[in-house]
Amino acid sequence: MHYIKCPWCGLRPESEFQYQGDATKKRPDDDAPIEAFTDYVYFRDNPKGRHTEFWHHTGGCRQYLVVERNTKTHEIASVRYAKPHEAKPHEAEPPKEGETS
């Protein structure tokens, strides 16, 4: 089970989150060519390895988080808010050896 260290709520199980897919795609401006929209909507890098993706903490603080996760090992390299917040994040202790997130 993935445990994601929400910058607000702390370490929480996957079941509290709703996955929201690839976070590298940016919604094009209204006047961009249609190819930009089809690319945004349908096409995915889908890497085997590090993937930057959204997890929505629906069962907690309801923040969209940007998570860097390895799609092969499921290891999580980093977690941050999608929308930057000025408020203090969760006491960020240095991750101890063996802690995955």
């Binding site: 089970m1 063996g98 995955t100």
Partner: protein
């Protein structure tokens, strides 16, 4: 001779002889004692034949101790609690236990299906892939039926499981799996270093292998160490030892799922207790101290009742004071056979012979030989002799010289050890072969998982203690405790012969006992090219039984390696998967079953509806009134009466389940502009507007009415089904797409409960209940809103209509629901106020041509639903470009139409296809009918649907084809709005 079994020894054991336990096996009443397993009690009673094998129906008995048992499977308990395929070695004996043998007909001793053995030359691995192909239709009707009936061992209970299960979330610094010497030592060390520690062990007892041995630690019996360590850990605030708890699987990020068998050692669970409890353990560090399992040897008839593992024979004698036989021969490749011999002799059980595959003596072998046991070196077992049970043993020297047959009733087999690497492999790591240990050992160098003790090939108890302590200290250090690392024990080469199989063709030499896979099957598999180890497994089913190859895998690999003529490490292992031992599906489901499958959500008016005898229906997790039967009305009568009341007087309907979201902030209107296809900036305070949302790909997502309560405060409503998704969508838009927007949301679905008051008399009724508010058309026009009070209750009143009638939606805070309902019912008497449910609501909205779930099914574009005109050209909104693009490229799309049968007595059905003629096939289908109702207002069935060409075809007749019921109805295409198309009623 003991009353608790004729094979019970006079002394010793960890059983409570004073406490007799009565149980039944195959209908026969027997007695064991407290502390027995079903297996030990059966052996004590000289019941050695306890089941029949899978394919050949060969007689089988107990072979092992604990959860590794491949052979001794029985059905336990009765009725709805019956469980198939349970190893008798894992069943703790309790008073009233009922067990039965399985897979036999008519009886265990005389099983007719044993004729399969005669056919065995033709039932070799994979035989079914090569036959049963002719004639084609015979597979399901004849062959498969027979195969299915023959397959499977036990029977499932026919009835729902009556017992409960629950789940518990646990967190710990260090989880230790296995409470043997290694595990206890690891836990002890980690705990003293300051870590939070949890130990789990699958057995009812602690001590692991030591519980079956007569061994000393530091000059005292091992049990003294075990008890003291357990006591130390368990009594510590930060320590816990859980027995009867199996670590089933290791999942990502150090989640270990463990199963505690809370009540399985009792007849029924105690009050308030679950039968089993799943423990979801999130451990920062895991120490696997799971021990090693002894493996058998492969030789003919090695599956007969009476053939047992050497360590098991010893364990039955030591722990249960049961002699597995009267005259026991031992075949061994290492010193373990001699340890067994020693404990047997000490208990005065005859050891008739030891056949050792090694050519040399060892300290313990000399000791045993010195005590008068005949030892044959360089000797391999060839065949077990006997009928149903073991009567003797045929042997050969390693170079093939014959040895005289030996008479015995039991054969103890010691083939070496397989470290319990299973859990290390759940996340994908493969073990590697150690020639010095003749074993696969874990190759895991994980920052959060360590193995220790016998589980990594350290077999000496003293070394296990040290190894455990080192692992415990290391785990504590990794979670931040201030400790000094200790060094791990080194493994010592096993003095063992490199032998896995005895001489012979292997046709009756079983590798996988439970699945009846022989050495010959393995060789055939290799011969036919199924030589990758995973092919071997799938072609022969090796290792696929309930024991998942705990006894069979390595021996199978050895035969395969020999057949392929490669070293065993080239062959490799198959992958272990969770669970470590089979675990009840009910336990995984936990509390979630039956009605509790998903939580039930009730509206504020739930009790009011109950008082009105509503029939409820599920709407997602919500319960909503479906209709309110009067007398013995059925659903059709009730919905017609309810719908008619709305059209003629006034009805009331609970609409609380609609999603409601308060939106605050200066950018609230800008946000709505992004998510809705229509424009919001100019909506006046105090007004409501209908809006449609699209997905990114341009299809319709949701619709609803949103009101402006203040310049920077909106109140959005959305469909019941999409409520959660819409909130997430708004959050996505504001946090991800447009993080600069200054907006806030709060879900208000349960703050406000809502009733729709609909019908020509709704205004009059409303006027009667509001606290002096002017509800005239001028003051509260269509799409107007009012914030007022009703009998003191704060109320928001929205002049909106789903039914097409003059209608209002009244929202009051949840706690005022009863109050509002009663007030309406009292005042409503004068107007014949009728509560209506979701069925009547559907009638009304279909009559009005309002789209709902069946129309907005994720494949509909706004333009398909006749809402294309709402799309603002002036602004950007989500889905805009894709919708416009698709409209250009995807040709003629079906769009919304109304349909009614030409012959008004005919019935329409949702899901019918619209076709031009009876001959038309799927490719010619022009559209479909999405919603239908028997309209009281129109006087016939009517429907909404989607049709290529849409409303341009108004007036044309085509056919609604429903071949599932052989129905073919001529229908006229018409305006989807069947009632008041000009909208005079709702605006009046």
């Amino acid at each position: 001779m003991s009353a608790q079994g004729s094979y019970r020894l006079g002394a010793g054991g960890a059983i409570d002889r004073a406490a007799s336990v009565a149980f039944k096996f195959d209908g026969k009443a027997l007695t064991g004692c407290k502390g027995d397993t079903l297996a030990s009690a059966l052996l004590a009673n000289n019941v050695r034949l306890i089941g029949r094998s899978f394919k050949y129906h060969r007689p089988r008995g107990v072979m092992a101790l604990g959860s590794m048992e491949p052979n001794g499977l029985v059905e336990v308990r009765e009725g709805a609690r019956r469980e198939p395929n349970i190893p008798a070695t894992t069943v703790e004996l309790f008073d009233g236990l009922v067990a039965q043998s399985q897979n036999r007909f008519p009886s265990l001793r005389y099983d007719l299906m044993a004729v399969n053995q005669l056919a065995s030359p033709f039932l070799s691995a994979g035989f079914y892939y090569k036959t049963f192909m002719w004639p084609a239709s015979f597979w399901e009707s004849v062959y498969e039926k027979a195969i299915r009936k023959a397959a499977g061992l036990g029977r499932a209970a026919g009835d729902p499981d009556p017992d409960g299960y629950d789940h518990v979330h646990m967190h710990t610094d260090v989880l230790v799996v296995g409470a043997g010497p290694t595990g206890l030592s690891a836990a002890d060390a980690a705990l003293s270093a300051g870590a939070r520690v949890l130990v789990v062990d699958e057995n009812a007892h602690v001590g692991g292998a030591l519980a079956y041995e007569r061994e000393d630690i530091d000059g005292a019996p091992a049990s003294a160490f075990v008890d003291a360590a357990t006591q130390r850990i368990d009594s510590h605030d930060n320590g816990d030892v859980l027995t009867r708890t199996t670590a089933l699987g290791v999942y990502d990020h150090n989640l270990v799922v463990a199963l505690e068998r809370v009540s399985d050692h009792e007849l029924t669970p105690g009050a308030g207790k679950p039968r089993q409890r799943l423990r979801l353990i999130r451990a920062k560090q895991i120490v696997l101290a799971a021990g090693a399992l002894e493996r058998p040897l492969t030789f003919a008839n090695n599956d007969k009742p009476g053939v047992m593992l050497s360590s098991a024979v010893r364990g039955y004698v030591n722990r249960y004071a049961v002699a597995p036989g009267r005259r026991i021969a031992i075949v061994t490749t290492n010193d373990d056979g001699y340890r067994t011999a020693r404990d047997l002799i000490d208990q005065n059980v005859e050891v008739s012979l030891i056949a050792d595959a090694r050519d040399h003596a060892s300290a313990v072998s000399s000791e045993i030989e010195g005590r008068g046991v005949p030892v044959l070196r360089n000797t391999l077992p060839q065949k077990v002799l006997g009928g149903v049970e073991t009567e003797g043993l045929a042997l050969q020297t390693k170079d093939g010289a014959p040895v005289a047959d030996h008479r015995c009733d039991t054969v103890a087999v010691a083939g070496g050890f397989n470290p319990c690497v299973h859990l290390t492999s759940h996340l994908g790591a493969a073990p590697y072969w150690r020639e010095d240990l003749l074993a696969f050992v874990p190759d895991i160098d994980d920052k959060s998982l360590q193995t220790a003790g016998a589980c990594r090939g350290v077999y000496d108890t003293r070394a296990c203690l040290d190894d455990g302590a080192a692992a415990g200290v290391e785990a504590a250090r990794r979670v931040g405790c201030d400790v000094v690392s200790r060094s791990k024990s080194s493994t010592v080469a096993l003095d063992a012969a490199n032998v896995f199989e005895g001489p012979g063709d292997g046709k009756k030499s079983f590798v996988d006992f439970q699945n009846d896979v022989t050495a010959a099957d393995v060789r055939l598999s290799a011969q036919e090219g199924y030589e990758a180890v995973e092919h071997l497994k799938r072609y022969t089913t090796l290792g696929m039984a309930t024991d998942q190859g705990k006894t069979s895998n390595i021996n199978g690999l050895a035969v395969l390696a020999a057949a392929r003529n490669v070293p065993i490490d080239v062959v490799g292992t198959t992958r272990f998967r969770p669970p470590y031992t089979p675990a009840a599906i009910g336990a995984y489901a936990g509390h979630h079953r039956g009605k509790e499958f998903q939580p039930i959500r009730r509206t504020a008016f739930h009790r009011c509806h109950e008082e009105e005898s509503a029939v409820f229906v599920e709407a997602g997790q919500w319960l909503r009134p479906r209709f309110y039967p009067q007398g013995n009305e059925d659903v059709f009568a009730a919905l017609k009466r309810e719908a008619a009341a709305v059209r003629t007087s006034v009805g009331v309907c609970d609409v609380s389940t609609l999603g409601k979201i308060e939106i605050f902030g200066p950018d609230a209107a800008a946000l709505l502009n992004k998510v809705y296809i229509n424009a919001w900036s100019k909506l006046a305070v105090g007004k409501a507007r209908y809006g449609v949302m699209l997905r990114d790909d341009g299809y319709m997502f949701d619709d609803g009415t949103t009101s402006r309560l203040a310049e920077d405060h909106f109140f959005l409503t959305c469909t019941t089904a999409n409520a959660a998704r819409v909130l997430a969508h708004l959050e996505h838009t504001s946090q991800v797409l447009y993080p600069d927007y200054d907006v806030n949301f709060v879900s208000a679905t349960e703050q406000w409960c809502g009733l729709a008051l609909a019908g020509p008399k709704s205004r009059a009724l409303l006027a009667d209940i509001v606290d002096g508010f002017d509800v005239s058309n001028e003051n509260l026009p269509f799409m107007g809103i009012a914030e007022t009070t009703i009998g003191g209750a704060p109320a928001r009143i929205f002049r909106i209509s789903f039914s097409g009638e003059l209608a209002y939606e009244i929202n009051v805070p949840w706690g005022w629901a009863d109050h509002l309902w009663r007030k309406l019912r009292a005042a409503g008497e004068a107007y014949d106020l009728t509560p209506y449910g979701s069925e009547a609501l559907a009638v009304l909205r279909i009559e009005k041509g309002h789209i709902a779930g069946p129309e907005i099914d994720g494949r509909t574009m706004a333009s398909d639903a006749g809402l294309g005109g709402m799309m603002s050209k002036k602004k950007d909104f989500i889905g805009k470009r894709m919708a416009l693009h698709r409209a250009e490229t995807s040709g003629e799309r079906p769009s919304l139409v109304g349909v009614k049968p030409v012959n008004t007595s005919e019935r329409l059905r949702g899901g019918a296809h619209l076709v031009a003629s009876r001959e038309d096939g799927l490719k010619d289908s022009l559209g479909w009918v999405s919603s239908v109702t028997d309209s009281p207002n129109v006087g016939s069935w009517i429907g909404l649907g989607f049709l290529k060409g849409g409303m341009e075809q108004n007036g044309r007749t085509i056919y609604a084809s429903y071949p599932l019921k052989d129905e073919f109805v001529e229908v006229e295409l018409c305006n989807p709005c069947f009632v008041d198309p000009e909208g005079e009623r709702l605006r009046g």
